[in-house]
């Protein structure tokens, strides 16, 4: 296998694994930029995956080829509703946001498995019939080198995820809404003084994170596993959290980190059929994203600073 062949093999699968991570990591950026820590991303992804698969199985006959896309909407709504629980706890009830996130994670897995067993009478769902299709982008896939790398047998969801990253960057850094969002996360009291409704901004941010995490979970389930069981998501949400931090709480940084982690994941899965890489023990590829995140946080790879008010409930009038 030549080097280029290896790239043709590995890059598309890296992008394919990265797409859900990008969306969920961007969701995390929104939430944490507003000052709400969201450890619950994993759980929100789980609910997204479950509802996505369930909707797909139930309505595949009605909607035909459009089913996976409509499932994304269903998944988005479900995860958004669950994220409201996190929002209420951490914004209105002043709960410890990490603890609330842990509760969301436990709840999401338990609730979706409970429903799977109730509906299907077994530990996992059936396999879906309508899934996202791979296709070659016309014309673009004929470009030498770039064509086979980025435009051959791709999923539309990957383009969608990358587009969302740019939209998120624009919203957070170029719009008044984004300015308020960041202000609320850095110095809520100053924002409040200037007439920004801190609680409302944070609610919106957490709901956006829920919506994106739900879509991410549904994409993961409908492209990679094609069914839902207890191990479907298995840490992808935490990997997205890692991507968010490694990307320094910046939407495009998070996208880059997610692409890189997708690369590491796909290497650990398909790497055994590539020379050189098959010499590296699998475990190093598996732990790479986590180790890198620790290095990034420790400041070995530039300084990663969280939004200043991240994790602190805002109590009016309290200094």
């Amino acid at each position: 296998m030549s080097f280029l062949d290896v790239l043709y093999f590995i890059i598309p699968s890296a992008i394919f694994y990265a797409a859900p991570l990008i969306l969920v990591a961007i969701g995390g950026v929104f939430s944490e930029k507003s000052g709400v820590v969201n450890i619950g991303l994993e759980g929100l992804m789980v609910i997204g995956a479950f509802v996505g698969i369930l909707f797909n199985l139930l309505y595949a006959d009605t909607f035909g080829a459009a089913t996976p896309w409509i499932s994304l909407i269903a998944a988005m709504v479900a995860a958004l509703l669950l994220s409201l629980l996190h929002a209420v706890a951490s914004i209105s009830f002043r709960a410890d946001q990490v603890v609330s996130g842990v509760a969301i994670n436990l709840l999401a897995v338990a609730l979706s498995l409970y429903l799977v067993k109730r509906i299907f009478d077994k530990g996992q769902t059936d396999f879906i019939t309508e899934r996202f299709a791979r296709y070659n982008v016309p014309f673009l896939s004929d470009i030498p080198v770039i064509g086979p790398l980025f435009f051959t047998s791709v999923y539309n969801t990957s383009f969608f995820a990358i587009a969302i990253a740019f939209v998120a960057w624009f919203v957070i850094y170029k719009t008044p809404f984004g300015l308020r969002l960041r202000a609320v996360g850095e110095h809520p009291m100053a924002a409040d003084t200037m007439g920004v409704n801190v609680a409302r901004m944070r609610y919106i941010a957490v709901m956006i994170s829920g919506a994106l995490a739900g879509i991410g979970g549904a994409i993961y389930a409908q492209t990679i596993t094609n069914d839902f069981g207890h191990a479907t998501i298995n840490g992808q949400g935490f990997m997205a959290l890692a991507a968010m931090i490694f990307g320094k709480w910046h939407p495009l940084g998070a996208m880059g980190a997610a692409l890189f982690f997708g690369f590491a994941q796909s290497l650990s899965i398909v790497g055994s059929s590539i020379p050189i890489i098959q010499e590296i023990p699998n475990v190093f590829l598996l732990i790479l994203p986590y180790v890198l995140t620790i290095f990034a946080l420790a400041g070995f790879i530039g300084r990663a600073n969280a939004p200043l008010a991240n994790g602190k409930p805002y109590i009016k009038g309290q200094r």
Binding site: A103, V109, V283, I294, L297
Partner: protein, 349 residues
């Protein structure tokens, strides 16, 4: 109502609310909640065997709860109990398999190995927190995954490509014939004694030693502790190390008592995360941890009876546990409501 009373009432109200939510979910999804909870009750207290198994389940919860609570008291949130438990599990099983020694040396050695492994896994986030001010929550989450993948790889190496190690030598086992006979041959083992001793150890460290005083002081106010001449960095690292050691011992309970081997895992055991629930419910006190571990350990084991006896998926109990955590975390609102209720009573008088 006194402050102390409200503090006690929050967990109790949370548990009741959690069970209520569970009942509503069972009702809505077409099951009979009374039947469900009866099955749960029988799964916990049905006969001597189930009681033995319930106590066995409580054992690692005690230690995992201690680990989370101990870190909390020093102002640290150790989500890494899960990872520290996994490395402890592996270390204990490895020592149990690799050598054969007289019991008096082998068993303590295996337990110490687990504690040291867990302590090491806690040392890393502690060091990073102290030296680089990195938030321990994220580091410990990452360390969990590193623990999972690394131990899986180690198990494969130790067992020549297999999925699990051999059973440990009897000289490293916590099994006790006396306890087994007492409980109709459940897997109840001597670990429960060790776990209860550790509850005492935590109480002793926190309440009776200078170290404990300093740890609590750092937990309350870092700057004040620094000003008073305490070494804050040293205390942060020590808190994580001791917390990790408790978590590692929880792993030893599984390695030397319940399973007597370690197998590679597709996902987490969940004990570490439930430890957070145990500590929260127990308000991070040693005595409270006993209460929390007993409740969650019983619920977890009793749930196994629910599919057979009532046809209800065991996940209902996990839902209940998640809801309880949610309410305990939202203690502010429960406190507020309790205060309002008692204020109204006063007015009526």
């Amino acid at each position: 109502m006194s402050n102390r009373m409200t503090n006690l009432l929050v967990p109790i109200v949370s548990v009741i609310l959690g069970l209520l939510v569970g009942a509503v979910i069972m009702l809505v999804s077409g099951y009979n909640p009374l039947e469900g909870y009866a099955a749960l009750w029988n799964g916990i207290f049905g006969d001597m065997y189930t009681i033995g198994e319930t106590i066995r389940q409580i054992t690692p919860y005690l230690l995992a709860g201690l680990a989370v609570a101990f870190a909390f008291r020093s102002g640290l949130f150790n989500i890494g109990v899960e990872g520290q438990l996994i490395v402890g599990w592996f270390a204990a099983a490895y020592v149990g398999v690799a050598v054969e020694l007289p019991k008096i040396i082998h068993l303590p050695l295996a337990i110490i190995a687990a504690a040291v492994a867990g302590a090491l896994w806690g040392f890393v986030p502690g060091l990073l927190k102290a030296k680089f001010h990195v938030h321990e929550v994220i580091i410990t989450i990452m360390m969990n995954y590193i623990a999972l993948h690394v131990t899986n790889a180690l198990i494969r190496t130790v067992s020549d490509g297999g999925d699990r190690t051999e059973n440990i030598f009897a000289s490293a086992s916590l099994r006790s014939e006396f306890l087994e006979n007492l409980t109709e041959f459940s897997r109840l083992h001597l670990g429960i004694v060790l776990a209860l001793v550790m509850v005492g150890v935590m109480w002793f460290i926190l309440e009776k030693t200078t170290l404990g005083f300093e740890l609590k002081a750092v937990g309350f106010n870092k700057n004040a502790s620094q000003y008073a001449g305490m070494n804050v960095n040293k205390n942060i690292i020590l808190a994580m190390v001791i917390s990790g050691a408790f978590a590692g011992m929880a792993g030893a309970m599984e390695a030397l008592g319940t399973f007597e081997y370690v197998s590679s895992k597709g996902g987490f055991t969940g004990i570490g995360f439930d430890g957070i629930a145990v500590a929260l419910l127990g308000m991070n006190t040693p005595l409270g941890v006993i209460f929390g571990a007993t409740l969650f350990g019983s619920l977890k084991y009793g749930a196994l009876n629910m599919p057979n006896a009532a046809g209800i998926p065991i996940e209902i109990v996990e839902i209940v546990i998640a809801v309880i955590i949610f309410f305990v975390a939202s203690g502010y609102i429960i406190r507020l409501l309790l205060l309002r209720a008692s204020a109204k009573k006063k007015e009526a008088k």
